[in-house]
């Protein structure tokens, strides 16, 4: 169990490289990440903010933010949404501010 989790954390930063374009051959799960039940990542996911060059993630823009929260209201993890780290951090902060001002729910579905 212990080395499965370490495998996961070591594979995660490696998996982020192809998102920058090229790098790892194909996007298919290799031998290491094959340990996971589901495919590690189905296709090359690019960071939506890096591609569209959106710098400012505004907490008031609840439509943009609601794309990154699950049905339960939880923030979607980076490995599922494909967002890069600095943008994920800013996104998380914006979502938390939006939750506090009742623009997004803490739990439960959002419109």
């Amino acid at each position: 169990m212990a080395d499965e989790t370490t495998q996961q954390t070591s594979a995660a930063p490696a998996a982020s490289e192809p998102r920058q374009g090229g790098g790892r051959p194909g996007g298919r799960p290799g031998g290491g990440p094959g340990r996971e039940q589901r495919k590690y990542f189905r296709r090359k996911k690019v960071c939506k903010f890096c591609v569209e060059k959106i710098d400012a993630i505004d907490y008031k823009d609840y439509r943009l933010l609601s794309q990154f929260i699950a049905e339960s209201g939880k923030i979607v993890p980076r490995r599922l949404s494909g967002v890069c780290t600095p943008h994920q951090r800013r996104l998380g902060r914006a979502i938390k501010v939006a939750r506090n001002i009742a623009l997004l729910p803490f739990a439960g579905s959002s419109r």
Partner: protein
């Protein structure tokens, strides 16, 4: 030191327009009397809240963009806390973030100008994206 803050608060939905006007003007005078200045006041209208606050499921959102010292914000928040129609508020400091955004924009501008003909097509794309992001920022800040 003048810091820029965004103060957003929610007012109960059954408030009349003139009461809202009175509230916003009171807060604006509070700001100016404390040596700050109000850069923008935006009434974002009635919205459904994502969860019930108190007994309300709807509210009128108001946004203030203020420049001023830190104590001003404390004073404003105290007022909002005691004022009966205001049900929620939050203050966000935006000058640090704005400084970073300006720096990134400047680098991108310099990059665009410095790169010359090769980046002509890319320059248009970045200019369009910048205009887009600037347009997205100005309604938020205005």
């Amino acid at each position: 030191m003048q810091r820029t803050y965004e103060l957003m608060f929610i007012v109960r939905p059954d408030m009349t327009d003139e009461d809202l006007e009175k509230l916003t003007s009171t807060l604006s005078t509070q700001v100016t009397s404390a040596k700050g200045n109000v850069k923008a006041v935006e009434k974002m209208g009635k919205r459904r809240l994502a969860y019930t606050v108190g007994t309300f499921s709807e509210g009128i959102y108001v946004l203030f963009v203020i420049e001023g010292p830190g104590e001003l914000v404390q004073e404003l928040e105290r007022r909002l806390r005691v004022s009966e129609p205001v049900i929620k508020f939050i203050t966000v400091r935006v000058d640090v973030e704005q400084k970073r955004l300006d720096k990134v924009k400047k680098i991108r501008d310099a990059h665009r100008r410095g790169a010359g003909t090769h980046a002509a097509a890319a320059a248009e794309a970045t200019a369009a994206a910048q205009a887009e992001s600037a347009a997205a920022e100005t309604p938020a800040q205005a």
